[in-house]
Amino acid sequence: MAFYEVYSHPALIRYKTSVCTRATLFLAAVLCLTYIPPLLVAYRSQGFWIKRSTYEEQPVVRFQYQTLLVAATSTQGDFVAWSTFPHLNNMLGPKLRIPAVSVREEDQNQDGKLDMLVLQLQLPLKPEEQVFSVQLLLTFSYQLFRMSTVAMQSLAYVQHSSSVPGAKLSVSGDLRLQQRTPLPHRGLYDIYNVSVIDGSSPFASSYDLDSIIRSYQSRNLTTVLSCPMPVWTVGRAAASPFELNAEIRYPVEVISYRPGFWETIKFAWIQYVSILLVFLWVFERIQRFVFQNQVLTTVPIPLGKPHLS
């Protein structure tokens, strides 16, 4: 007749002692060693409090239909320029050359957010003029909504120059977000929702590219046109205009932000508890060994024994 285990249950044994004993001291030490070291281990192994986290979002970008174009038309430094700012155009006088511009913004995946800007610009030139360099500045309205609501006005700057006169410049790139410090995790962040170029100003200093770019680059949050491969096509016919084709995509951005209180606590809690479990198991075994073998004198109260006191 073979026996088999038909049922089992753990038996609870209580160990009692008075307050001023070595067992009490041992218990206090064990409690301290169980709960405090995991905190130190989690903290010293770095990354206990998360300072920076990231999320993905496609921004809501709109072209603001503000443009500034400067094209050098000779190697001596003659130039023609055009902008959408009437004050600047008035100041330019004979240097003003109005191009034909066509702009289209596309939502390719039908998600309600625009994905791409297609800008085609044809700059008419006189027969004696050639284009050696182009500077183009476009402004955008840039918005993020997922964590903190970001509303800002940003710009894209295209600059290309060549020693050979060109017929066409073709730019295809991404409008990338650049952050110096992480964004807050909530709230409205609209300190940069101001015009990059003050179009209402009649003074020439407002349209100085140097100061525009300098004040723009001092911001924490900027966009840059990342176009590693602009294509400069040479061989323009005398009567044909200079063409500038730009395709600017608005990609999904990885945005870093400072996590809020509860997110920080949540990740710290996960780390703490996972290390604590190991310590709990170890010290449970130690305690069992100490009390079962009566290393420290206690009064064991076995199961089923009625109350003595």
Partner: protein, 616 residues
């Protein structure tokens, strides 16, 4: 906005349909399956139709079912109009939803479009096709069952292409497909609101964000001004033309490039600009142009912004003629006359405006009291083109003294402002009012020769370390004692100061506030002559005061002059020229702030003196 609303609507709709699919799957499905209703006679005998139901994994081109097409292809049904539409806006078309009727490549009316297999005019030309530009037209793939019109070409025995067109019902065995679509607008664009006379403005506001032509040059109408409006900071200054028309006082400044553009001058904003002019000498020299001094002097400024203000003429204070070598002589011009540019030779133009300085005196009510201009005229050769012109406007308070003493900080020095320096006399310390006459260093010139004057100098600006230099040719250094003295004068500059103010606003009558410039240079050394090779200014400064508002002060200043200790040949290492350097270094010597320990707070409670009055 409208598109995103449509997207969210469709998502909601899908979700509700998905719920309905699971909860009420016993409800009768009202699937409106449109089977292919081709007019088979139109395509000729080459067309084969196979209405088989087979399941394919190819992804056909998805067309939103609300694509409006040409009116000739669709039956136009007038929707119920809530208001009378605007006459030009017409009405919206009924969308075409049947996939067999949608043909996006059919661009030409009554003409066959090449490689457009769904074009119904291509019954005979289909033999010339090589591929189908639109191989499939599909309905919404979110439905569990949807129609796809396929177009493909097959090569016949004779080598020509044959069209195979079919409309198939695709079935999707996906847990998240839409089984029954009871809300049609969930998967299609909502019909747009028709513009009417009443809602046009709101529709315009809703759908237009940014657009070309939104920037308008807002000109301030003179009627908007208060009765006696003075100028305010940053206002443009109004000028009176010859015949009384109002203009704007313009001061040329570099525009988007370094070229001069006629930018308005802003009231109370001191401005100094250098810009280049592209001129053709024989054309622009004699004509009234930017080179003519009349352009800058025949101006009348309105004293105030309003209409009735008196015009203040710009008065010519001085006209200086600059020769080709840079020497300047003041010209005496009888009142009212002016010097016109003259073409002296085809490549030389005289009496050209090189520099214009306006000084405008303003009163406390924002009115212009007085305006003066001083000019520098000169000669322009062909080689000097494009010509650089220098324009400056300064605003001076009326009655506030002609020249206010300028400080370089209050009290601590401000980074970027020139050091304040002076000389010790028997009466005390003397300094020039002009901050340009201060401790300065040599500015590098184009000919690089130390002994060729005149040298331009730039002031030592607080906090900016600089370095510049010139070269000394060996054959010039024959007379050592003379060269040594000349070089020292070149390096130190004229009226070399003895003391430097330790703060930006150090008063002259407090000699303890001024720091002596220490020097290691001893000219009266032994008989051997030594040539100074470099001048180095070491300025030690520290921060005073609180951490929040520190004040920078100069602690000590030292002049280090290196002289040659060896012979010429060793110095120049065979080369004929010897570089002479000047440099300035600012050395911060401020000690780092220490953490301070706070005193323990003391308990300073005291009971009122009569608290125990009945007992004591």
């Amino acid at each position: 906005m409208a598109a995103s609303a449509a997207a969210s609507c469709s998502l909601l709709n899908i979700f509700s349909l998905f719920l309905a699919y699971f909860l009420f799957s016993s409800v009768t499905t009202n699937e409106n399956t449109t089977t292919g209703d081709f007019n088979t006679t139109q395509f000729g005998e080459n067309v084969t139709y196979n209405f088989t139901d087979y399941y394919t994994t190819t992804q056909p081109t998805v067309f939103e079912s609300a694509t409006p097409t040409h009116p000739s292809h669709s039956s136009t049904v007038e929707p119920a109009l809530p208001a009378e539409p605007l006459p030009v806006s017409g009405r919206t078309l009924t969308p075409v939803t049947n996939v067999d009727r949608l043909c996006p490549c059919d661009d030409h009316n009554d003409v066959c479009d090449i490689n457009c297999c769904c074009d119904r005019e291509c019954s005979e030309e289909v033999a010339l096709f090589t591929s189908c530009s639109v191989p499939a037209v599909s309905g919404s793939s979110q439905l569990c069952s949807y129609d796809v019109a396929y177009y493909s070409l097959k090569t016949a025995i004779d080598g020509y292409s044959e069209l195979q067109a079919s409309v198939q019902k695709e079935t999707k065995y996906d847990a998240f497909c839409i089984h029954s679509q009871n809300r049609v607008d969930g998967l299609s664009h909502p019909s747009p609101a028709l513009p009417t006379g009443s809602n046009f403005e709101s529709l315009f506001k809703q759908f237009t964000g940014f657009l070309f032509g939104s920037e308008t040059s807002a000109q301030v109408a003179p009627t908007d001004l208060p009765a006696s409006a003075g100028y305010q900071l940053g206002d443009v200054i109004v000028t009176a033309g010859e015949s009384g028309q109002r203009g704007v006082f313009r001061l040329p400044a570099p525009g988007v490039t370094a070229d001069c553009v006629n930018s308005p001058a802003a009231f109370l904003k001191d401005q100094s600009s250098r810009c280049s002019r592209r001129v053709v000498l024989d054309r622009d020299c004699s004509s009234p142009s930017a080179l003519n001094m009349d352009t800058y002097t025949r101006i009348q400024l309105f004293g105030r912004k309003d209409e009735g203000a008196a015009a203040v003429p710009v008065e010519v204070v001085s006209v200086t003629l600059q020769s080709n070598t840079g020497t300047q002589t003041e010209l005496k011009i009888p009142g009212g006359q002016s010097l016109r540019p003259v073409l002296l030779s085809p490549t030389l133009c005289g009496n050209v405006v090189l520099k214009v300085v306006y000084v405008i005196k303003y009163g406390p009510a924002g009115q212009i009291v007085n305006a003066t201009v001083s000019l520098v005229l000169g000669f322009v050769r062909e080689a000097m083109l494009p010509l650089e012109q220098h324009f400056r406007v300064m605003y001076v308070q009326d009655g506030g003294g002609e020249t206010a003493v300028q400080h370089s900080g209050n009290p601590g020095y401000v980074v970027g402002l020139p050091l304040v320096s002076g000389t010790r006399t028997t009466e005390g310390i003397v300094r020039s009012i002009n901050l340009r006459d201060t401790l300065s260093v040599l500015r590098s010139s184009e000919d690089q020769d130390c002994l060729q004057g005149p040298h331009q100098r730039s002031p030592v600006l607080f906090g900016l370390d600089t370095e510049s230099g010139c070269t000394l040719r060996m054959d010039d250094a024959a007379n050592c004692t003379l060269v040594s003295q000349v070089l020292l004068d070149v390096l130190r500059g004229p009226n070399y100061p003895q003391v430097v103010a330790s703060f930006g606003n150090s008063p002259l009558d407090n000699p303890l506030d001024w720091v002596q410039i220490k020097s290691n240079y001893n000219p009266g050394e032994a008989g051997s002559c030594s040539i100074p090779l470099s001048l180095h200014l070491e300025i030690e400064w520290t921060k005073y005061g609180t951490l929040v508002n520190p004040q920078a002060g100069i602690v000590s200043i030292r002049e280090v002059i290196q002289t040659n200790t060896s012979s010429w040949a060793v110095l120049s290492r065979g080369s004929n020229v010897l570089p002479i350097r000047t440099s300035v270094a600012f050395i911060p010597v401020s000690a780092a702030a220490l953490p301070g320990y706070r005193a323990m707070p003391t308990f300073n409670a005291r009971l009122p003196f009569d608290f125990f009055s009945p007992f004591v």
